[in-house]
């Protein structure tokens, strides 16, 4: 998305990610205990719809990026 294009919708982020966002920790720490990272985040995400690191809109899949409700592929939980 080009930042120079004034017709573009602003990025509006929610704290709730798209329901198709996946990472390993979701499957390992299923009781919510989480990885004790604290000072760093090296989580690797993928999209369930495409099973790759890019969503159906061909845009990067990530913690912040997939909270953007304006993404065409965003689906709430």
């Amino acid at each position: 998305m080009s930042s120079a294009d004034s017709t573009e919708l602003p990025i509006v982020e929610t704290s709730v990610p798209c329901r198709h966002l996946r990472n390993k920790g979701m499957y390992v720490y299923t009781d919510g205990s989480g990885e004790s990272h604290g000072d760093y985040d090296n989580t690797i995400f993928w999209c369930l719809k495409t099973m790759t690191g890019f969503g159906p809109d061909d845009t990067y899949v990530g913690r912040e990026e997939c909270c953007n409700v304006n993404r065409a592929c965003f689906e709430p939980l």
């Binding site: 998305m1 499957y27 390992v28 000072d39 090296n42 989580t43 990067y60």
Partner: protein, 723 residues
């Protein structure tokens, strides 16, 4: 409250893997061996370019090729291809050869775009964007205390840049699965995965069907190391092709080249570090600027500072994207990088101060470094554990007799050196897992759970726990895992499998034993409280009375089946360890040979000492590969990987493996903590310890891993001012 046996008969002993003979003899069938009747073979067409757009794709000729039954296009017209190895299409045919021929017949017209495949290319201001948003993304900076001020006051400061390359996953069994669709609503998959339930869930989600209608089977599997969690695009497309081909099974497993290109890697790490200390070697501050690449996926951040107590530190990390295959979790994600950079800087500081490397490490452990103890709310200070481990390791490597200060290792061409490094990891259990235990009237015992054995010995461990409770041998237990339809089991990641699965297994066996006693007590004219199990016998009031099998017959026609759930107090989290390396370096050729490694590791209560040791050996060997050999080599000009095979992508051979001494730090206090995973921790410190040993041997830091002849000779040339 549930508790492990105080005087176990089996737990803590060395029990060979139940499936060891089958694996060693070839009898075990891995998912990539499975070929159900009518199997079609899938082959992936992938991008030959580092950056391109598909202008057009024509599969017409391929579809008419002999044996071709179906083609699924993944990247159609207009789709971006962001790295060599990016998926374009998969062909299913009667034979693998026919599928390969058809892949070659697919006509793709590419618009080849400029690329950047190295960090330096990507960070150039004029670099093409790997994807929208910029090639360099900064992580949240972390500042503790006043590092600049503290560094100015430090008595001694070292400054260096250390770097570790991208290394790729090299599982012996490639990624993939064989999928068979039944109608539109059922799928069976034989998957090489470390998470049968995840693959089932993802296939179900992908086809919008119930997870109950997907069965994923993984009887055994040939390595995952963090890279085999999901169904992946390859698995999903196999299922789609099976649907297209009338329900015929479709097998899609990657070839070795695509394994290197697309099946995941450990990100690179480069750190510019300033580390300061007082005269007595006490660290006062660290300032680190780091970056790394996870290809098109990110994930390159890592812990730094690492292990040691630093009241003043700052850390800025940048994620660099390049047109190369994306990262996936790899055995202890982030820790080997953080460990290597921290330990190298600390070792350089010790050399500058003229301090013993072991002494400076002990001096800089936190006064209090609490990890979870055995009981709820109980903690254990890890620092005395580290101190004891360092003492033991130093004895076993012969530190006192062999250690000489850096660069004082003789005048000959071949130098010897010693190095040391510390590490830490979590490895706790997930609280929602279950195991079922069934006792049958014929005396057979079966346990079930939807976990899998990634190679750590999960099948054997569950059998040992059950046999311990029921007074049987592990071989008496049918340990049934690797099936997604079984009671919910743990995915094998984060060293969590054993600590997650052992508590519900203990509960299931204990509950089944209680139900068994209640059922047979009347037949033995006694009360259940008088019964016990030992040596394959039922004991009444401490006397052997009846064989297990005869007693089971008293069950009549009904089996006993109990499902155990996770219980607190049986597993814990938070381990530490240290490793020592002894190396020989030929200063004329730059060749490093590791002569000996000592690995000391704590991990709570050890269930099977044999598979525990195997994990530590395997971790050390993986770390040795990281330290000496592995490196993804990208060609900046063409954008392709130059070593996507097992010839030029270097790994240790048998003659490269040194003497490895493994010791468990297993005190009563540790045993009382319960079970903790050990899959990841023992691979963390090896590359760091080897690099420190090389520096000790040759008198100069080799700042770039691996410790290859080129990097060693470069460092020696730099020392002589020739670089």
């Amino acid at each position: 409250m549930a508790a492990w046996p105080k005087e176990p008969r089996l737990i803590g002993t060395k029990v060979p893997r139940l499936d060891g003979l089958a694996k060693a003899s070839g009898k075990a069938k891995y998912p990539s061996d499975v070929r159900p009747e009518g199997t079609l073979f899938g082959v992936v067409l992938y991008s030959p370019h580092a950056n391109a757009t598909v202008k057009s794709i024509d599969t017409a000729a391929a579809e008419k090729m002999p044996g071709v039954k179906g083609i699924v296009v993944i990247a159609g017209q207009g789709k971006k291809l962001r790295f060599q190895g990016d998926d374009i299409a998969i062909v299913a045919a009667e034979t693998e050869e026919q599928a390969r021929d058809a892949v070659r017949a697919i006509k793709v017209d590419y618009e080849v775009l400029p690329h950047c495949v190295t960090e330096s290319q990507s960070m150039d201001e004029k670099a093409p964007q790997v994807f929208d948003g910029g090639n360099v993304r900064k992580a949240r900076a972390i500042v503790k205390g006043k590092p600049e001020e503290a560094l100015e006051k430090a008595d001694v400061v070292v400054e260096g840049t250390y770097s570790l390359p991208v290394i790729t996953h090299v599982c012996l069994e490639p990624h993939g699965l064989t999928a068979q669709a039944e109608g539109s609503s059922k799928i069976t998959a034989w998957a090489s995965t470390q998470a049968v339930t995840v693959v089932a869930g993802e296939l179900a989600g992908s086809f919008n069907i119930s997870p109950a209608d997907v069965t994923v089977l993984t009887e055994v599997m040939g390595g995952g190391f963090g890279s085999k969690f999901g169904a992946d695009i390859w698995g999903r497309t196999a299922a789609e092709l099976s649907k297209k081909c009338g329900g015929r099974p479709v097998k899609v497993f990657l070839d070795r080249a695509q394994e290197h290109l697309a099946a995941g890697n450990r990100p690179s790490a480069t750190g510019h570090v300033k580390l300061g200390a007082s005269k007595d070697g006490k660290l006062v501050a660290m300032i680190a600027e780091t970056y790394g690449t996870g290809g098109v996926r990110g994930g390159s951040n890592f812990p730094l500072p690492y292990v040691y107590d630093l009241k003043n530190s700052s850390r800025a990390h940048a994620e660099v994207s390049v047109n190369a295959g994306g990262a996936r979790a790899m055995r202890a994600p982030g820790h080997p990088q953080g460990c290597a950079i921290m330990e190298a800087a600390l070792d350089d500081l010790a050399a500058k101060l003229g301090m013993d490397p072991v002494e400076i490490r002990v001096k800089n452990l936190a006064e209090v470094d609490n990890v979870r103890g055995g009981r709820q709310g109980e903690t254990i200070n890890r620092t005395p554990m580290y101190e004891a481990q360092l003492k033991l390791g130093a004895e076993l490597i012969g530190w006192r007799d062999k250690y000489k200060p850096r660069g004082e290792n003789g005048k000959g061409v071949v130098k010897r050196g010693l190095g040391v490094a510390l590490h830490q990891w979590g490895g706790g259990g997930a609280a929602d897992k279950q195991v079922s235990c069934t006792i049958n009237p014929d005396g057979s015992v079966e346990i079930k759970s939807a976990t899998q054995d990634i190679g750590t010995g999960a099948r054997t461990i569950l059998a040992m726990i059950t046999a311990e409770v029921l007074g049987l041998k592990p071989t008496d237990i049918k340990s049934n895992i690797g099936n997604s339809t079984f009671p919910p089991g743990q995915s094998s990641g984060g060293s969590t499998t054993t600590p997650s699965m052992s508590p519900p297994c203990l509960a299931a066996a204990t509950q089944a034993r209680a139900a068994f006693f209640n059922k047979i007590a009347p037949a033995l004219s006694t009360d259940a409280e008088t019964l016990s199990l030992k040596d394959g016998q039922v004991w009444v009031n401490g006397e052997p009375t009846m064989s297990w099998k005869d007693a089971c017959r008293k069950l009549g026609m009904a089996s006993i089946s109990e499902t155990g759930k996770f219980a607190d107090g049986l597993s814990s989290v938070g381990v530490g360890g240290c490793q020592f390396a002894e190396v020989e370096v030929d200063t004329e050729t730059g060749v490093v040979r590791v002569k000996k490694i000592v690995a000391i590791q704590d991990s709570g209560l050890i269930i099977d000492k044999l598979t525990w040791e195997s994990q530590v050996y395997g971790g050390v060997i993986g770390g040795l590969n990281y330290g000496l050999f592995e490196e993804r080599v990208m060609d900046p000009t063409t954008g392709v990987m130059l070593n996507p095979d097992m010839e030029l992508y270097k790994l240790a051979g048998a003659s490269d493996i040194p003497e490895i001494i493994v010791r468990a730090y297993e005190t009563e206090e540790m045993k009382n903590r319960g079970v903790i995973g050990v899959g990841e921790p023992p691979t963390i410190a090896t590359a760091a310890a080897i690099a420190n040993a090389v520096a000790n041997a040759i008198g100069v830091r080799v700042p770039d891993w691996p410790m290859s002849p080129r990097n060693v000779l470069n460092a020696l040339a730099s020392k002589e001012g020739k670089a």
